[in-house]
Subunit: 197 residues, 2 copies
Amino acid sequence: MTAPPLANLINELTKLPGIGGKSASRLAYHILKRTSGEAEALASAILEVKLKIFRCPICNNMTDVDPCAICSDARRDASVICVVEEAYNIATIEQTRDFKGVFHVLLGALSPLRGVGPDDIDVVGLIKRVQGGDVREVIIATNPNVEGEATALYIAQQIRPFEVRTTRLAFGLPVGGDLEYADQVTMAKALEGRREI
Amino acid sequence: MTAPPLANLINELTKLPGIGGKSASRLAYHILKRTSGEAEALASAILEVKLKIFRCPICNNMTDVDPCAICSDARRDASVICVVEEAYNIATIEQTRDFKGVFHVLLGALSPLRGVGPDDIDVVGLIKRVQGGDVREVIIATNPNVEGEATALYIAQQIRPFEVRTTRLAFGLPVGGDLEYADQVTMAKALEGRREI
């Protein structure tokens, strides 16, 4: 009984990650209630992003300039490369304002179960950058899960011949958390990685 | 450091209800990863909905035909009107497949705190339909909260002169729930509304 254009919008919205039927419906009715100008702004933002955004040829970040704003920023230290799985992980690291190096986006993580092997992620691009000779350190910031760990070990192995410092993000208790809620593995990592104070 | 077209899309997405910064970012990167065709389908669905959908002149439902599919369905009983706050509430009631009557969308609920008074919701349209004379029952299906209750009482009062049966949805325990988790008010309503078995 839902009008077809409305049903179509709800259907398109459910294709987005984390948007189920009820959320899609709430979003669609919200769009209906807003002005045409606001709906057009959203629609054109969607189209524009597909037209103007491409992957940086150096680091695979999403960008509208070649090379991307990070790779072309002279104030950043190109000798420290932080390796992440996806372009959106860059924002999480940039938020800290503590990292002054550059990035390399792998475009995924090794996952034999999902059929993602070494040729499906961009390790070759990273190795070429390391081979260039100006790299001092590679910080591996893949996700703290099985796939991320496997990917980190694989990359470390591939980089070893070039004698570049290779590091992995620290594992431990999340700040603001409660000891009581820490799982066994995290707790073990926190003990293992304990530091003098 | 996020590319402007991407930052713009993320900003537009955060204007949607229930979409915070992180969700907007996840949605934007998802759209970037999909094909241009898929992005165009979403963008045109947004535009189309604004072009083709309007409010049914009888019941205020969102529709692309005049009158809406429910009001124009001869198999439905136009003598029973279910009153809801918003057009999206219709879907929730239709899902039960138990209701064969028609609807009336108020376009809101009375809320003195938010400055929504009797003139801001469509009670006049409902009264006109009741005055028409063919209505046997008005089922008030406003939300089970303070605003919804106030609105239900106001509508009941306004309809009284026309001597039409006026009912309110039942309050009680949600099915599938656990007695332990029922709040006091719901439990009191469940006791009060108890039925012979």
